[in-house]
């Protein structure tokens, strides 16, 4: 995915081929739901670059378009207009299956409601993205166990989601997001359903992961969560109104 080094000095930063420098590069993206008079403009032209290793918080009130932004960033949804370059490739040009591949390998999702597969053990949940990435069984087991170990839940590997606390479930979800070794960790209100203690745990984990060089994008409406990030983006009415480095 890296562009040959010789090209870097001669091509201006805005040109697409150098976009590989930025892990995420969205350009003038709009998203409209519905048609005609009932059309809802969730995003009205958003441009954003996130470099590898950044820790970004996206804030905004409900209905501001931050969730839509997150869905587009995670390749769960496609923009109505505009371009999305992820790690040097244009997402719009990818087939459905290739998009699935991108989701599986480059992005790790963490959701507000954990979204673990019910009736399936913690270990099996963590293994799932590895299964979809066509890894061998033994390799999957090894990596999933390591990821669970990383979030401190090795002893809960055989527990099902309904046998785990909210904090534990979210840690399993983080382990699952990390299992494939994605470049970006995309978290949508990750602490929304957690108590203060679990929130601290999860955010501590994000800090740790970011300090190890992982790109983290957190969508939240809580200021103390946003304060942990090093860059704050505020979205309002489908536009970015604040984009500042906070730390």
């Amino acid at each position: 995915m890296r562009v040959p080094a010789v090209q870097v000095p001669v091509v201006p930063v805005v040109v697409a081929s150098v976009a590989a420098d930025a892990l995420i590069d969205i350009r003038d993206v709009t998203k409209t739901y519905g048609h005609g008079e009932t059309a809802v403009h969730a995003l009205r032209g958003v441009s954003l670059r996130v470099d590898a290793g950044e820790y970004v918080a996206v804030m905004g009130s409900s209905g501001s378009g931050k969730s839509t932004l997150m869905n587009i960033l995670g390749c769960l949804d496609v923009p109505s207009r505009g371009e999305y370059w992820l790690d040097g490739s244009n997402v719009a040009g990818l087939s459905e299956d290739q998009q699935a591949l991108v989701r599986g390998r480059k992005i790790g999702f963490i959701f507000q409601s954990f979204n673990l597969i019910p009736r399936t053990s913690a270990l099996a949940n963590v293994e799932l993205p590895l299964t979809y990435a066509h890894l061998r069984r033994a390799e999957r087991r090894k990596r999933a166990s390591r990821a669970l170990d990383l979030v401190g839940l090795s002893d809960r590997a055989d527990h099902r989601p309904n046998q785990l606390s909210g904090g534990q479930q979210q840690r399993v979800a983080i382990a699952r997001a990390l299992a494939t070794g994605p470049r970006i960790l995309l978290a949508d209100e990750p602490t929304g359903n957690l108590d203060a203690h679990s929130t601290d745990e999860v955010l501590g984990m994000f800090d740790q992961l970011n300090s190890e060089g992982r790109t983290v994008v957190v969508i939240t409406h809580e200021h103390d969560v946003a304060a942990r990030a090093r860059r704050l983006i505020q979205v309002s009415d489908g536009r970015i109104i604040v984009d500042e480095v906070t730390r």
């Binding site: 459905e96 299956d97 979204n115 993205p129």
Partner: protein
């Protein structure tokens, strides 16, 4: 995903709602079981009829007269059809090797019905008394079980001897074996029991064992009078000559009775091979009818699979969204749900086959089912196809969901 992973995911999906899966399986197994059992019943009844007819002998021709369009029954010679009545001379002519070379044996038959037989205080109304010659027994596959048959000499000299059918012998003597050598009365006439016929399977509504056989001349002298014959039983030389024998019989009788060329033959010749063919056709139709009914129940079972899979897909929409977010491709989701549906109907198929194998060991509606091996394979194949076909719509619906829509589903 490897097949093993897919199978594991499908099994987990099915076991998530055991009762529902069980009921769906039940629907398919009833369908598959019904196909196998009903086809076996149809096949079994066909085989039973065939066996009975074959026991009768397939090279048998039964000649009777239709009375030339008159309303007279056989044997009741009226003025209009006396010309066409079957006589003993007809029987002798048919037995002539030069006139009918493909006929091996001939037995004239007269019957008398509703005669009361008495043995001391015991009496029994014999449904049919047959007067004939000894060649009747081998020709119609009516062997004498106990004792012996009467001879041609007995016929010629009008001996008062009698062969009892199983039912008749049992009714009169309780133990059929004790009947031989005893004397019974038919009406007012004494007969010596020469033998008891072996038991026969029923070929129709009448009990073929509620009979008695006496020499034809004796019957004429004592019971039925000297009227026309009821029928003449003709045995062809072998099974391949049945058609030629039938032609010879027709030609001979037409010539002997001077039937005008423009008239339809007053003689009805029943060919047992034809009866066999007809009843086989009937059995085939019967089987097809049963199979159709069973196929409908299999279809209903299949619709049950679709229904359950649709519910499952709706219920697990969110799970589908999660799987897609984690990198599941379209065909992975498709495969998972197709395998679930196919597994449902295959398990149903296997259960159905098992139940059918057990059920078809028993008699159903008086028929011993005869399993058709191909119907088992077919039913299993169809049940797998049912899963694939009826599962494909829900599975496609699941696979086609956009990840964001699926994730938002509550």
């Amino acid at each position: 995903m490897s097949p093993r992973d897919l199978m594991g995911a499908a099994l987990r999906g099915l076991s998530a709602n055991k009762l529902r899966s069980l009921l769906t399986v039940l629907g398919v197994s009833i369908g598959v079981g019904a196909v196998i059992v009903l086809v076996a019943v149809g096949n079994g009844s066909g085989k039973a009829v065939q066996a009975r007819l074959e026991a009768m002998g397939t090279n048998l021709l039964t000649v009777s007269t239709t009375g030339g369009g008159g309303g007279f029954q056989r044997g009741q010679a009226g003025p209009a059809n006396q010309q066409y009545s079957l006589t003993l001379d007809d029987a002798s002519a048919l037995a002539d090797k030069r006139l009918a070379p493909d006929v091996s044996s001939v037995a004239p038959v007269m019957t008398s019905s509703g005669t009361t037989a008495t043995n001391g205080d015991t009496s029994y109304t014999v449904s049919q008394i047959i007067g004939t010659t000894p060649s009747y027994m081998p020709a119609t596959n009516t062997p004498v079980g106990i004792g012996e048959s009467f001879t041609q000499e007995d016929v010629d000299t009008s001996q008062r001897v009698i062969l009892l059918g199983q039912t008749t012998a049992t009714e009169l003597f309780t133990r059929p074996a004790s009947a031989v050598g005893q004397t019974i009365k038919l009406g007012a006439v004494d007969f010596v029991v020469r033998g008891v016929l072996a038991s026969k399977d029923s070929t129709g509504f009448n009990d073929p064992n509620a009979t008695a056989i006496v020499p034809i001349n004796t019957l004429r002298a004592t019971q039925a009078g000297y009227g026309a014959l009821s029928q003449i039983v003709v045995q062809a030389a072998n099974e391949d000559r049945v058609d030629t024998a039938q032609a010879e019989v027709t030609q001979l009788l037409t010539a002997r009775h001077q039937v005008p060329a423009d008239q339809t033959s007053p003689f009805r010749i029943t060919n047992s091979a034809q009866i066999l063919q007809t009843s086989q056709d009937t059995a085939a139709t019967f089987t097809a009818l049963l199979a159709t009914v069973a196929a409908i129940s299999l279809l209903v079972g299949g619709i049950g699979v679709t229904n359950i899979m649709l519910v499952t897909v709706t219920e697990r929409t969110r799970e589908i969204g999660i799987r897609k977010a984690l990198g599941a491709r379209r065909r992975t989701i498709l495969g998972q749900f197709l395998i679930e549906a196919t597994l449902l109907s295959l398990i149903g198929g296997a259960v159905g086959v098992g139940v059918a194998l057990i059920v078809s060991r028993f008699q159903l509606a008086g028929v011993q089912p005869a399993l058709v091996p191909s119907s088992i394979g077919l039913a299993l194949g169809v049940s797998a196809a049912v899963g694939l076909f009826f599962g494909s719509m829900p599975a496609h619906r699941a696979a086609g969901l956009r990840p964001i829509d699926a994730l938002r589903h509550e």
